[in-house]
């Protein structure tokens, strides 16, 4: 087991390296270096930056040096000193801005994953065991509708319905008095009372996808001889189905949980832009449009890294639960 974990962790290093390269490339993509645009912004606001301070910054980020030196300065700053660079729009170090937003994004994504499984697994099993029943058709219909509607559109429709028919504005992750308050139990509870909306919206898509695939997989399994054998031996139907074919049919979901998590984090960024939630999405969008590149790059780096780590954790849990995986490596 320990060997398996070690091997997975070592395999993760090249992945993380490539992620950091891509994030760095995105930081570098906009024309001109960020410092000159920073100076330009300051000048526009009527302030001026003195040459000495400029030189310090230039030295710190290695701006007049070749690109690999710049990359090294950037990544070693993150790894060794926890220095993610500065957000020029906010005038703060990036590390002060992103952690709680990233945390909420991850919380929403994981909750969504759990919620969609809680709904989809029983529903998919029901649909497969009661093929062509009314509920089966009904769930197929709902699934198709959910898969066809982009989640940001669902979010918009929710907002509109709440505003038009109930006269309430449901955008925002916190009630007004908590928006700029520091973290506290009250703020956390307040957030939990708002968080169900994005979770439900995001879960729709994934639930629909899981129901459809699980139904197809399980239908294949149910026709296999071992099910017949178990039935012939007199096993109770419920116990039989949940104990053998369902577990086989569920396997692909657990082994690709990393992809699902990536898709959910992805969807969350878009949905929270619509709902104007104080999570990664809107801040990343703003950073990108105002070319606040260290902030944007950090978001992309962190979101990807955390998704990869999430995958690793789920893989380890899976290997712990299923000896076959440990053997295959």
């Amino acid at each position: 087991m320990l060997q398996y974990i070690l091997r997975r962790v070592v395999l993760m290093i090249p992945t993380l390296f490539v992620i950091s390269l891509i994030s760095f490339a995105i930081i570098q993509l906009p024309p001109g270096d960020f410092l000159s645009s920073y100076v330009a912004t300051l000048r526009q606001q009527g302030e001026d930056i003195d040459a000495a301070q400029l030189a310090v910054l230039e030295e710190q980020y290695g701006l007049n040096q070749p690109i690999h030196v710049q990359y090294w300065k950037w990544i070693s700053g993150i790894l060794l000193r926890g220095d993610w660079g500065r957000s020029f729009e906010w005038g703060k170090p990036v590390s002060e801005l992103i952690w709680d937003r990233i945390g909420v994004t991850m919380l929403i994504s994981v909750l969504t994953l759990l919620l969609s499984w809680v709904i989809a697994i029983p529903a998919g099993v029901y649909a497969a065991t009661h093929q062509y029943s009314f509920l089966d058709y009904f769930m197929s219909f709902i699934s198709f509708a959910a898969l066809g509607t982009p989640s940001f559109l669902v979010a918009l429709i929710f907002l509109w319905i709440a505003l038009a028919f109930f006269g309430v504005n449901i955008s925002g992750l916190y009630s007004e008095e908590f928006v700029s308050a520091p973290w506290s139990m009250a703020k956390f509870l307040n957030m939990l009372s708002h968080i169900w909306l994005p979770v439900v919206i995001l879960a729709l898509d994934n639930t629909a996808a899981v129901i459809r695939t699980l139904r197809a997989n399980l239908l294949d399994e149910l026709n296999k001889p071992y099910v017949e054998t178990a039935r012939a031996k007199g096993l109770r139907e419920t116990a039989l189905i949940w104990k053998y074919p369902v577990r086989v049919a569920l396997n692909p979901f657990f082994s690709t949980v990393g992809w699902t998590l990536a898709a959910l984090v992805s969807g969350e960024t878009l949905v929270s832009v619509v709902l104007s939630y104080q999570t990664s999405g809107p801040m990343l969008l703003r950073a990108l449009t105002s070319q606040d590149m260290y902030l944007a790059g950090s978001f992309i780096l962190l979101l990807s890294t955390l998704t990869v780590i999430g995958t690793l954790i789920s893989d380890i849990l899976l290997a712990w639960a299923d000896p076959r995986i440990r053997m295959e490596g």
């Binding site: 995105i26 066809g148 982009p150 918009l156 979101l303 990807s304």
Partner: protein
């Protein structure tokens, strides 16, 4: 010929059994495409989707003809005008061909909101193939006949199928022109992904071993990082002063850079399965070259799968473009795509006042569902010998 003659008397004697037999015999001699067609025809939703998509792509090709107005023509008179009601019974209770009343803009004396009131004295019949404002089809061929419209010039009276936007432009015309970008971008993006997917998936599946391992790791890597933040970062880097057509291709390339992985997996899987088939071994034994084996023997047998997978990949592309344009990082006005049109709906006041600004979303949902059903049907038909 002979079998037909023999079956005719049989038909007369046993009408209940004979058609079955004819069908079975026809199936033995039918070419593969015919079997696929028969299988496909059974999927009713997929067949319906073919018609829906045919209509959509007709509108894409002949947007200037289908749209009743120029998508850029605006008039403050029609700001957020609701869909024009099309009547068939006039105020005297007489049934007549479809027509619209003239619409006057007034203000609600209390809330000061604009109100659009029908003027029952002026009647404009809605007709097909009416001469409208002149246009140039594909920017070249001058014409003035539109698919439908009313006899009045737009300055006097307009007909809005789904309402007007904030600047008083006809939303239906804009959706039709938006389809031109949104629906083709999906196809171009998928074709581009196909090139990546076939090359990398094919290499991976055919050679196996180390190459396969590397390509598989790359695919796993790409799928395990969140795509939208990455797309956002890449498309934000497209220079803002690029012309629309460049941005269009830029976005397409960005989307396919990540979108090829699904296709590559399918291609690889098929390649792996086919490599072991007897007919491939036979071809190799008689001394066919590798290229000939791939192109002449393997590709035809998984082409149908590729087409089905391609169809199922289009919705993802459409969704991604719509999402990116919606948050302002994809195509930008003056380009018209469904995502750009939905930007209007970001303003909740607009949505509350004029829910029809969500209409482009309906177009998105319809096209995505149609592509999904079509892909399902094609996938079922892809292997007509199964079962």
């Amino acid at each position: 010929m002979a079998t037909e003659e023999m079956q005719r008397p049989l038909d007369a004697e046993q009408p209940a059994v004979a058609p079955e037999r004819i069908k079975a015999e026809r199936a033995y001699v039918a070419p593969q495409w015919k079997l696929m067609y028969w299988r496909f025809r059974k999927h009713k939703l997929a067949v319906a989707s073919v018609f829906v998509l045919a209509i959509f792509y007709f509108a894409v090709v002949f947007a200037e003809f289908v749209a009743p107005y120029d998508p850029e023509v605006f008039s403050t008179r029609y700001t957020l005008a609701p869909p024009t009601r099309i009547h068939i019974v006039d105020s005297q209770g007489q049934v007549r061909l479809p027509f619209v009343y003239g619409v006057k803009r007034e203000r609600d004396p209390v809330t000061l909101r604009p109100l659009f009131v029908e003027d029952t004295s002026s009647i404009h019949p809605v007709r097909l193939f009416v001469p409208g404002t002149p246009y140039k089809l594909w920017g070249i061929i001058p014409a003035e006949v539109r698919l439908f419209g009313i006899d009045a010039p737009p300055e006097e009276q307009m007909v809005f199928l789904v309402g007007a936007d904030r600047l008083g432009r006809d939303l239906f015309s804009r959706i039709v022109f938006g389809a031109r970008i949104s629906l083709t971008l999906g196809l171009v993006g998928v074709l581009l992904s196909l090139v990546f997917g076939i090359i990398l998936g094919g290499i991976s599946g055919y050679y196996g071993g180390v190459v396969d391992n590397i390509v598989q790791r790359v695919i796993e890597f790409i799928r395990s990082i969140p795509s939208i933040p990455l797309w956002m970062g890449l498309s934000a880097a497209l220079p803002p002063n690029w012309p629309v057509i460049w941005v269009y291709f830029g976005i397409t390339v960005i989307l396919s850079l990540i979108g090829w992985t699904g296709l590559a997996r399918v291609v690889r899987g098929r390649f792996l399965a086919l490599r072991e088939e007897d007919f491939v071994l036979a071809a190799r034994l008689v001394g066919s070259s590798e290229m000939r084996i791939i192109l002449r023997h393997m590709v035809p047998s998984f082409l149908s799968y590729i087409i089905a997978t391609l169809t199922l990949a289009v919705p993802g592309m459409i969704l991604a473009e719509t999402g990116l344009s919606f948050i302002g990082l994809g195509l930008r006005a003056p380009a018209i795509s469904w995502g750009v049109l939905l930007q209007e709906a970001q303003n909740l006041r607009s949505v509350a006042l004029a829910p029809w600004v969500l209409a482009p979303g309906l177009a998105v949902v319809t096209s995505i569902l149609a592509f999904n059903f079509l892909g399902d049907g094609l996938r079922d038909a892809a292997d007509p010998y199964a079962r």
